[in-house]
Subunit: 185 residues, 2 copies
C-alpha cells in the first residue's frame, strides 16, 4: 500500500505520475528519447539494460515491466532473463556485454566506472554515444527504481498484465499513460 495518497489502481510508476503530472512530463520524455529514440542500439537492447538495472536495484514493478517491453521490442523473455541474471553467459554480442558491465558499475556508483571499462567497450566497437546512453539509462533507472519503491507504489502480481503493459511500452511508448490503458483494458 502506497505511503502517500496516490490515485488507486494505477500500477507502479503510473500512479506516481498521475499524482504529480508536472514532474511526470519530463520523466516520460526521458525514456521516450533514451529507450525508443534514434540510436545504433536497438530498443530491445536498451530495454534489456533497463531490465538489468531494475533487477540489480530489485524493483519488482520495473524488473517485470521492462523485460516485457524488451520482449515486445524484439528480444525474447529467455534472452532477457539471461541478461538480467547472468549476462556474461547470455547470447548477446561482446560489445553489449561491455556495455552491461558499465551499467553494472553505474548501479554501484558513478565513480565505479573506470577508463578501462570504457576502453574495453570501445575496443569491442561501442561508440561514444552508445557508452553515453548506457551510462544514462543505468543512471536513470537508479532514479526510476527508487521512485517506484520509495513511494511504495502499487505493484500488481498478474504476469499477463505486465506482458500487456510491455507491449504498450514497446509499441506505443512512454509519452502517454500507456500502462494505465493496459491495466484497465
Amino acid at each position: 500500500m502506497p505511503d502517500i495518497a496516490l490515485p488507486e489502481g494505477l500500477p507502479g510508476i503510473t500512479g506516481a505520475f498521475a499524482f504529480r503530472p508536472e514532474t511526470a512530463k519530463p520523466m516520460r520524455e526521458l525514456p521516450e528519447v533514451l529507450l525508443r529514440g534514434p540510436s545504433s542500439l536497438t530498443s530491445a537492447e536498451r530495454e534489456m539494460i533497463a531490465a538489468f538495472m531494475s533487477t540489480r536495484n530489485d524493483c519488482y514493478f520495473c524488473q517485470t515491466s521492462h523485460p516485457a517491453a524488451a520482449h515486445h521490442a524484439g528480444a525474447d523473455y529467455g534472452l532477457v532473463d539471461a541478461v538480467r541474471f547472468d549476462y556474461p553467459s547470455a547470447a548477446v554480442s561482446a560489445k553489449f556485454k561491455t556495455l552491461l558491465a558499465i551499467a553494472g558499475k553505474v548501479q554501484q556508483g558513478g565513480k565505479q566506472v573506470t577508463p578501462e571499462d570504457t576502453q574495453r567497450a570501445r575496443q569491442e566497437g561501442a561508440t561514444d554515444l552508445e557508452i553515453h546512453d548506457t551510462v544514462l539509462i543505468a543512471a536513470a533507472f537508479c532514479m526510476y527504481n527508487r521512485y517506484v519503491d520509495g513511494l511504495a507504489t502499487y505493484s500488481p502480481d498478474n504476469p499477463e498484465m505486465y506482458d500487456k503493459m510491455g507491449a504498450v511500452m514497446a509499441h506505443e511508448g512512454y509519452l502517454k499513460p500507456a500502462a494505465d490503458t493496459a491495466v484497465r483494458a
Copy 2:
C-alpha cells in the same frame, strides 16, 4: 578527463548535456519543476536536499554546485554544510529533518523507506506532496550524480566558479545552459 569525447571546457553535467541535447531537454526540465517550481518547500530547502544527496553520493561537481544554489536561494553556506554533514544537529525544522531522513533512505534504495518514516514526516506536518517531492529529488540525484561521475565529466576546482554557477542556478534556473554562461563569463 572524460572517458568519452565530451565538449571541452564545459563543467560537470553541462558537458554531458551539450553532448546529448535530446536527453538534456527533459533532464533540464525536471529540476526546473522539482527545485524551482511552485511548492510549499522553499527552493533553498529543495536545493539543500539536492546538496545532501550529492554529498551522500560523493559527487564533487554536484555537492559543490548545489550548496551554492541553496546559498543563493536563501540558505547560507554554513547551514547547507550542517545539513550536508550532520542534519540532526542542523538549525532546520523538525519536519525538514524527517524529510532528510527519507532522502537518506532513498539513497540506499527505494525499499529502505518505511511507512514509519513517512508517518514521522506526516506527524511533523509534511504533506503528501512534500513527501513525494522529497523522494523524487532524492531519486533524481541518484541519477544526476551517477551521470556526472559515470562519464567522468570535467569538474573545475575553483570555488568562485561554483559560487557564480550556484547564483545562476538559483536565479535563472536550469532550462538554459546556465552553468556554461557562468564558467565562461
